[in-house]
Symmetry: C2
Subunit: 253 residues, 2 copies
């Protein structure tokens, strides 16, 4: 089952988006990988479109994929952020080695993606992913207000509770005293939320009730591989992806 | 690693909700399990609340859980629907046996849950999960209109494409010619959507462009274990869970 070929990330060139979760795992593990977002000219976009339009995969082994991020590794083609993370996490030493631990870590990653990434995305697209933000601005304001007031503190408090529980072990990490891909997911969520909702996030940071979550964000950023990556040109700027800055949504809760 | 104890499903008594995906896997496999939704009197709700309020797990091994469905199996406590499905699928012969296949099946299950369950839920709660439907009725109508017009056909067409691809193998199933938990997930999604959006779903069925998806729904319902389950009192009626019927959201696309 050894696959000594580089990983291939297929993701939209442009904003970091959901692809960023995959990149952080690959970067932390110093894995060899290609990224369509880094391809020259039109090449990356064309590769993404071939998957989205269903031209590939056409190998009879892998089911068609609906949307990026997509990971290609040798013969295997898989989609869905948490699924790719789990695959890479197991291979790259960023999941738990114990079978039960695998599922505990996966639950944490899924919960962070649900509440701190998918719901954040829905704050600027509450009505329809296919419509422009401008066509759902009123609804966005209503949703973002609820989000920063109720949902964001709820999820941040949950992760603070996880980090304070005995199951997190020693050190800054979520589970078993060791860095896993769930930590990298939470880092990216907190990072994106700081960009999208600076007022709400600095209020939470000032209040001090989520100190362990903010410490985890800091600890991930200090990892040698991650720190080098964040300074590199490979780390894209937030723009029109999951985490977007709109002044009118930057609500003080 | 053998755990010869019954599975314990912790889920809200009342609507089938997300817990239903877990039940279908357990029922198809004829696995021994308990279900808080079936507990006498107040007992089931109290058990759910103990997890939601963080009283349990307090074992120092399992991280706190945020929301049901939760699965307890011996010492292991895990949350998140797709995570529980993956755990059970592997143990109960409803995932692929091949390591790569595990991730292919998981991607299909995650995609169905995203587009045909989570997005359907958001049609009656587009602004805030904590508000009543009545407080987001206007936005719900707008979201449901987009959903039945754009999103629902998109996801249904995707699964029709998967079922028509060589990777699905022979027979009615999504992957490798064998029933997996992804098929059970798609069954429940189609079933719930037929309840929630009867006009849109019968239009899709009449048009005949998604015949393979509707055949899969039929084929799952005919499985001996599932058929017996669907007729039993354990199968709860749709009410105020993920799939709800509101006349004003039953839009003819």
């Amino acid at each position: 089952m050894a696959k000594d070929v580089p990983y291939e990330l297929i993701y939209w060139p442009g904003p970091p988006g959901r692809g960023e979760h995959i990149r952080l795992v690959l970067e932390e593990a110093a894995a060899e990988y290609t990224d369509t977002a880094q391809a020259e000219g039109q090449g990356g976009l064309d590769q993404v479109l071939a998957f989205v339009q269903g031209t590939v995969p056409d190998d009879g082994i892998n089911p068609p994929t609906l949307a990026p991020p997509i990971l290609k590794h040798g013969e295997l083609v898989i989609s869905q952020t948490p699924n790719i993370l789990q695959y890479l996490g197991s291979r790259l030493g960023l999941a738990d080695k114990d079978n039960d631990g695998v599922y505990r870590v996966n639950a944490l990653a899924l919960t962070a993606l649900d509440g701190l990434s998918n719901e954040a995305h829905d704050c600027h697209h509450p009505i329809a992913p296919g419509l422009y933000y401008e066509d759902q601005k009123e609804e966005s304001k209503r949703k973002a207000t609820d989000y920063v007031t109720n949902r964001l503190p709820k999820f941040m408090s949950y992760f603070e509770r996880v980090l304070g529980s005995k199951s997190s072990g020693d050190g800054p990490w979520l589970y078993g005293g060791k860095l896993t891909y769930a930590d990298l997911v939470l880092f990216q969520c907190v990072d994106g939320l700081k960009f999208m909702f600076p007022k709400a996030m600095s209020k939470l940071e000032r209040e001090g009730k989520h100190a362990k979550v903010f410490s985890l964000h800091h600890a991930v950023a200090q990892r040698p591989q991650i720190s080098a990556y964040l300074k590199s040109a490979r780390r894209q700027k937030y723009s029109h992806g999951i985490y977007r800055y709109y002044k009118e949504l930057d609500i003080e809760p």
